[in-house]
Structure formats: C-alpha cells, structure tokens
C-alpha cells in the first residue's frame, strides 16, 4: 500500500527483506497506522455485520409468520394475522407505499432541481445563501411536526385541488373524487414531497456547485444562453448526483412513518383513484398496528418490514445501475 513511505525510511542501498516488504505492503509498520487500519477496517466490517443481522432477524421472524399464512402473502388484500386461520398479505401496503412515493418523487424532484439550479446559477449570492439556509431548516423539522401540519392544515386545504383535479382529469379514473375527506394517497404524496424536498435540494445543490468552471465556459464561449449552459454542462455533469439525491429522498419517502400515519385514513383495499381516502403504507401499517399486535401479528408486521427492506435495496440497486450505465460519459474521466 504505502511503498513510497517505506522507501523513505529504508536505506535505498538495502532492499527490504521478505517479511519487511510484506509488512510494508499491508501498510501497518507504525503503531499509528496499525491502530487506524484496525479502526477503519472494524468500522467497515461493523456495517456489514449490522446489515446482515437486520436481514437475518427480519428473515427469521418473517418466515415464522409467512409459513402460517393461509392467504397469499404477496397478493392478498387481507390483514388478519391473529385470526384463525391467520390471513394477511402486503398487496395494499406495497401499492400504497410505491404510489405515494412515486407521487412524492414526481413533485419533489423537479422542484428540488429547480431550487438547486436557482441557488447555484441564477440567484445573487446572498439570496442563494438565504434560500439554502431555509431549506436546511426544513430538513431539520421532525417528521411528527410535518405530520401535525399535514393532518391539521394540509388535509383541510386539499379540497380545492381535489375538486380541480376531479373536474379536469376525473375522466381518467385516477383523479376521480367522490367527495370524501382528502386523507388519500395523493395527500400523503404531497406531504412526502415537501418532506423529501430539502434533502434532494441540498445534495443537488452541492453537485451543481461542483460543475467545473471550464465546462460551463465551454458552453458560454459557443454562445450558449444561461439555460443552454445548464442544459449542456450543468445537468449532464450533475445527472448521477441528482439520481443519488433522488434515491436518498425516495428512501425517506418509502420509510416515512408518523407523518403518513397521521394523514392517511388507512383501509385494506386498493382504489383506482388516488383521491379516494384509504390505502396504507408499510411503515404506517407497522406503526399503527404494532402496539396492539399479538406475537403472530408482530411477526406478520415484521414480514411486511422485510418486504420494505427488499424494496429499498432494489431501488438502490436500480439507481446504481442507472448511474453506472453511462459511466464513460460521466464527468469523472474528464
């Protein structure tokens, strides 16, 4: 590893013997190096151990529940793990989790990218700094506060939007509104969008800020307008960073618990319309049911948690694939 350091300490006339060279290759000749190597290696291994422990725990408890499940675990709309026979499935939860997260992403990603571009490329320095500071504050608001605000302010104020969507897009079926309280997946999606906006904005902002000056000047010198500079230099360079940022946001949206539980009125069915109250998400369902659950009920909730865990892993893997696919075109080898 640290061959250059070795060469400095060893007299150049005497080549290091085998054992010494081996030690040098491990980079652990000095006590400080040894301690630091041990610490960093230990931290690295610890992460893997924790992940493996979580996966093992979830898999074990989930298998206990699923083996007793009389309904189809993946497709059933039932959630009655303490019944006789126990019947439960995650179809409603998977649908609700994915749909609300997709809505949140669809709203939050474009707005976040817009805010980040404004801060880095349009706003005067001082205004940009002020906006960035406010966004940082938004990120620090606890999710329970978002939940309170969502339940007490957002829900009563969604009627107008719901009516408008019903008027103009109701014919699609997706935006049909029967007039129920707007405690629906769409409201959850809007709330989640606000919650994940700060993290996506902050990460995107850092990425856009790092676009090399020479790439932007290349576009400028060709006679690009400010928007064209952003399109030709900034966005392509920031693309993988924005994807990573979005995945961080998506991770939070998928796992968000309290705010969803406070806004949604959970039911165990799937409605074609995003505006109808009802539905549920994995995290919300676990939080709502955990306290009163029997042992079997808890295992069933853990089984649903395992599915959420797997979905999160898949999402992250997909993001890495997208980033890797165009690696040779990334700014990294410029």
């Amino acid at each position: 590893m640290d061959i250059t350091t070795q060469n400095h300490t060893a007299p150049p006339a005497l080549p290091p013997d085998g054992a010494e060279r081996k030690r040098a290759a491990r980079g652990a000749t000095r006590p400080g190096d040894r301690i630091f190597l041990g610490l960093s290696r230990g931290s690295g291994i610890l992460v893997l151990v924790i992940m493996a422990a979580i996966a093992a725990f979830l898999t074990y408890r989930a298998s206990l529940a699923i083996s007793k499940d009389e309904a189809n675990f993946l497709t059933s709309f039932e959630w009655n793990p303490s019944g006789i026979p126990p019947e439960f499935g995650i179809a409603v939860l998977a649908f609700g989790t994915i749909v609300s997260s997709v809505i949140a992403m669809a709203i939050a990603v474009p707005i976040s990218v817009g805010i980040a571009l404004f801060i880095t490329h349009y706003a005067p320095r001082r205004l940009g700094g002020a906006i960035a500071y406010v966004i940082d504050l938004l990120a620090a608001v606890p999710s329970i506060v978002y939940g309170l605000w969502g339940a007490l302010f957002l829900v009563p104020h969604m009627d107008g939007l719901f009516g408008w969507l019903d008027d103009y897009l109701g014919w699609t079926g997706i935006f049909e509104w029967g007039g129920g309280a707007p405690r629906s997946l769409l409201t959850v999606g809007v709330l989640l969008a606000i919650m994940i906006l700060p993290i996506i904005t902050n990460v995107s902002r850092e990425v856009f800020r790092q676009v090399p000056r020479m790439h932007e000047e290349a576009a400028l010198a060709l006679g690009a307008t400010r928007w064209e500079v952003i399109r030709m230099s900034v966005l392509p360079f920031g693309r993988s960073g924005v994807i990573s940022a979005s995945m961080l946001g998506l991770g939070r949206a998928l796992g968000e618990t309290m705010a969803v539980a406070m806004v949604l009125s959970p039911t165990f069915d799937i409605s074609a319309s995003l505006l109808d109250p009802g539905g549920g998400t994995f995290a919300q369902n676990i939080a709502s049911k955990f306290n009163e659950a029997t042992v079997m009920g808890r295992d069933a909730l853990i089984a649903s948690g395992l599915v959420l865990f797997v979905i999160t892993l898949l999402v992250n893997g997909a993001a890495r694939l997208i980033i890797a696919r165009r690696k040779e075109y990334s700014g990294a080898n410029a």
Partner: protein, 258 residues
C-alpha cells in the same frame, strides 16, 4: 468571414480592481496576433474582453470600445450571447463536453444556433474535424465520448467545435500549455492553416511559439503587482523579436526580467 478587430481605450475591472488599463490596438483579418507578457499582466483578461467572456466572472466589467468591423461589441443593445457566437474561443485546458460524443461536441454550437438536417450536420462535423486535422483519428469513433481522446486530440476537438459555427474571430488562450511538444506542433500547424479563414488571437507563454505562429505580436506588462496591466507595444512579430522599439520588450524577450 474574418473580421478586423479594433480596440480603443479599453479598461477591464474585477470589482473595483482595474486589471487592464487603456488598451488600444488593431488586429487585421486573416492574421495571427500573439499576446505575450508575464503572468498577471492581463493578456488573458484582455482576450476575454474580445468575446465578452470577461463579464461572466463575478464582478467583471469593461469600459471602452471593441469594434468588430463596424460593430461595437460593447454597444447598447448588443447581446453578449450573439457576440460569442461570432467570436469563438479555445481554452487553456481542453474542455470538450464530457457527457457528449465526439460528434455531438462538434455539433454542439450548431445545435444552439438553429435547426440543421442530419445530412447537413454530418457534412459540417466532417468538415470541421478535417479543418482541425482530427478527422482521420476520430472518424471511426465519432460516437465515443470526447473525453476519451488524448489531450492533444481533445484540444483539436475543441478547435473543431469552435470553427464548426464559422466564427469571424478565433481566440485561443494558451491552447498548448497543457500539451506535449508533438501535440503542440500539430496545433501550431493547424493555426497556420486556420488563419486563411479566420482572424486569430492567441495568448501564449511560449515565446518561440509566438515567433513561430504569429504575424503580429503584442507585449503586455504591469508596473508592479496590484497595478493594472498595459499594452507596451504591438508590432510585426519579426520586429518585436529582432528589434523592438521599447526596452522592456527586449528585456522580456531576451529573458533579462520576468
């Protein structure tokens, strides 16, 4: 195509700092003019005032006149974006768009300027790459990323990108300082060919390069650090390097100071 540049009474500032003071000069069409001088004397800053890139730097502003034939680049109602489409620029470090292929890099400026048919684009891209002496090396890898080329090839790609839009003037800011001698030679040969079609201004720290490629040479200097840079003299390259009229020029060229 090529136009005459006529600068008079030009000052450029960074914030309140006067970087170059009272510069006047004429650059003839279809000629190569080299700017030489010690670091910090403002030659790059001056070059960047010629396509209004100076004002892109925060705090950058310019006073004075830059006439391109009979149009003042700093006149009222002149759009800097339009100026930059007329005055192309090549930078010190090769900067092809890393996310674009060789083809797209060359076509980038054209796509900004308007709509072209695929066949027209193909023709212009080929012509520009040939003009930059790069065609034979990249014709089989037009769809590969431009950042995969060698440094010298990347710089010629940047030149192809700049000349694809048929500018009137081509500015080069130390185009060879990041390149090895072979690539430098290739670029210098290319400059000799390009001056048939364009007005070329090149900033260089390499005095042999200035002597080799340019018809006219301008020497810039500054009295002390913190003082504005000034144009000391501009004359035929031969004269500047054999018998300059100002003592400071001779001192600089012969290596007695700097």
């Amino acid at each position: 195509m090529a136009k005459r540049i006529d600068v008079s009474g030009l000052n450029a500032y960074y914030g309140s700092f006067l970087a170059i003071e009272d510069i006047s000069m004429t650059v003839e069409p279809r000629s190569v003019t080299a700017f030489i001088g010690p670091s910090g004397c403002g030659k790059s800053t001056f070059l960047r005032t010629l396509n209004r890139m100076h004002e892109v730097t925060p705090g950058g502003r310019v006073e004075g006149k830059v006439m391109l034939d009979d149009e003042n680049l700093y006149g009222a109602g002149i759009d800097p974006v339009a100026v930059r489409r007329e005055v192309g620029m090549v930078f010190q470090r090769p900067n092809p768009f890393p996310t674009m292929s060789v083809y797209d890099n060359v076509a980038a400026g054209l796509r900004l300027n308007g709509k072209y048919k695929k066949s027209e684009l193909d023709d212009i891209v080929e012509k520009s790459l040939k003009g930059a002496n790069l065609w034979n090396e990249v014709k089989d890898r037009l769809n590969k990323p431009g950042s995969g080329l060698s440094g010298g090839q990347q710089q010629r790609l940047c030149i192809a990108r700049a000349i694809a839009v048929e500018p009137n003037v081509l500015l080069m800011d130390e185009p060879c300082s990041a390149l090895d001698p072979i690539s430098t030679l290739a670029i210098e040969d290319l400059i000799g060919e390009l001056k048939e079609r364009f007005t070329i201004v090149i900033v260089t720290h390499n005095m042999q390069q200035a002597a080799r490629v340019s018809d006219r040479t301008a020497f810039f200097n500054l009295a002390a650090v913190g003082q504005p840079g000034k144009l000391i003299e501009i004359d035929d390259t031969e004269r500047i390097f054999s018998n300059p009229s100002v003592q400071a020029t001779e001192d600089y060229i012969s290596g007695r100071f700097g």
